[in-house]
Symmetry: C2
Subunit: 331 residues, 2 copies
């Protein structure tokens, strides 16, 4: 039985969408039990059907979007901190939240221990690409600001293991995000990391990758320091949203354009499906002793379901144990 | 008379589009004379009408897209190096090329001197935003990799002067690109630059800006170290291209979607116009003693015309002299 702790609160929609996601997940996966942390009285009775596989932990506070590490750790009655403490003290398998990203990164890093020999945990996300169904794993996207070459090598190993175990990619290709494909391009850290990655036998290193090609569907894992990874993530989000808003406005412009939409709807629905980031299940922290997944703050039940699924797949594949072995081997 | 040196070769289309752009520009701007550097025999006779305002410099070599600094400087017969040497030796006002970006940055930085007290030149581009006609100036997008806080302050001043003189923005707002809007977010350099920019009276500093909001049309100048600026630029290009390709594919899918396109064409044409980066005229180096503009490699005559126009506006507004004063004041 895989035991996952769920932060029911903290999403933009309170516990409404998380409830539905948990109910759906319990129905689909019989080898899962969920520990639901939050305002239990608001949903307890809805889980009667699954009472043998559900535990409830009462937590009535919610971590705000912006929170200092100190305030976070003091918020012991919040669903996020209580959930993380349950995860560790009860030795459960994983944790899923749609709450504050900053709170999640800080909380998980402070409460859940790092794996032996891992220098820095990485915030990692599978990105949708222009190839339908193909996801590219990019890390770090914001747990750190700067990273040493040695830390970047650690990210490469963790990203490869995730891509292999969770996305089922055999021998995943690994790239460094840089400002040119040639060896020698980029900051001093990137140039030095290039050598480390090239020499390392645990990964299938292919060289540098430019940001403009990162989402063309030909890369399995892309490694970057946290600051530039965060710039990448947010630029991609911003531009995709800008273009999508423009498409909507173009179709809503007149009666004729509305009919135009109806006539070309199939193609645009398919495009929407290709770009459906909700299927990726959000982001996760790699390098900790437990599985920790962060769903988008505006996750609907579908997106949150997929975040639980990522945690489930990670726990089921024993990713933390596998990573521990890899990082032990390296010593 | 404003005298601009034009690298006629080096664009993806040889000198075909640059010819047309120069002819159009000479027609529209009577106070301009052009020094055309390239395979002069291929187009000399076409400029008969403007013979009093055109000079020809023969140069038959072309700088390849990827070129080492050493190879570049040795390529004295290339249109780019010959053009830059003409610019300096004849004391002309500006230089425009659609050739290799790397070659341009290296060549201009080595051949054209930096302004007094400028620590680093910045590669700077006006970006289109979601607000039609509104451009946001972002620098540095790739002349450097890392930058000191002091260099970032220099970029802020140069970007403000450009925004004011060329884009006609009064008291332009200045932001630092970071991974959060709060003070204290970002790398050590960003955190320290925040203090420097906040104290400085030459600029209108507004704080940090996240990459996802950078193109929403509410920022005039955004300052970033070259490496993250380059990631920003190329992510934006890559995602915009990806979505545009998807839109095209959606419309081309079937007969009905093609009719759909015709019915909604007006809105999409307007969107295309809003996103028409060709109007921005490409990128430029700020901090040098001469105006140096780099058009997109795949510039058609319209885009190259706008690149010449940016050089013209910069020269006309005496931007180099104004920058020199600003940087003298700071001492």
């Amino acid at each position: 039985m895989i035991q996952l702790v769920i932060d029911m609160e903290g999403s933009d929609f309170g516990n409404k969408e998380t409830q539905q996601a948990c109910l759906d997940f319990l129905k689909d996966y019989e080898d899962v039990s969920l520990i639901l942390v939050g305002k239990t009285c608001e949903y307890k009775d809805k889980f009667d059907l699954y009472s043998s596989r559900v535990k409830f932990v009462e937590a009535n506070d919610i971590i705000p979007m912006e929170v200092s590490p100190l305030k976070l750790l003091r918020a012991k009655e919040s669903s996020m901190v209580k959930g993380l403490n349950e995860l560790v003290s009860q030795n459960y398998d994983g944790f899923v939240t749609a709450g504050s990203s900053g709170g999640f990164i800080t909380g998980a890093s402070l409460i859940v221990k790092k794996l032996n020999n891992v220098k820095k945990a990485a915030f990692c996300a599978p990105f949708i690409t222009k190839v339908k169904g193909k996801q590219t794993v990019i890390l770090d996207i914001g747990a750190s600001n700067t990273n040493t070459p040695e830390e970047l090598l650690g990210f490469a190993i963790m990203g490869s293991v995730f891509s292999n175990l969770v996305l089922n990619i055999g021998n995943p290709s690994v790239y460094l995000l840089s400002n040119g494909v040639e060896k020698g391009k980029g900051t001093q850290e990137i140039v030095e990391a290039y050598d480390l990655l090239e020499e390392n036998k645990l990964i299938n290193f292919k060289g540098n990758c430019e940001a403009r090609d990162a989402l063309d569907g030909t890369h399995d894992v892309i490694v970057t320091p946290g600051f530039s990874g965060n710039i990448f993530l947010k630029t991609a989000e911003g531009v995709a949203k800008m273009v999508n808003d423009m498409i909507k406005a173009s179709f809503k412009r007149s009666l004729s354009s509305k009919i135009g939409y109806l006539l070309s709807k199939k193609g645009f629905d398919e495009m929407k499906e290709t770009m459906n980031y909700r299927k990726t299940g959000g982001a996760l922290l790699l390098g900790l002793q437990k599985v920790c997944v962060k769903a988008h703050g505006n996750s609907n039940s579908y997106a949150f379901y997929h975040a639980i699924k990522v945690a489930y797949l990670m726990a089921q594949s024993h990713i933390c144990e596998k990573l521990m072995e890899k990082f032990d081997e390296r010593q």
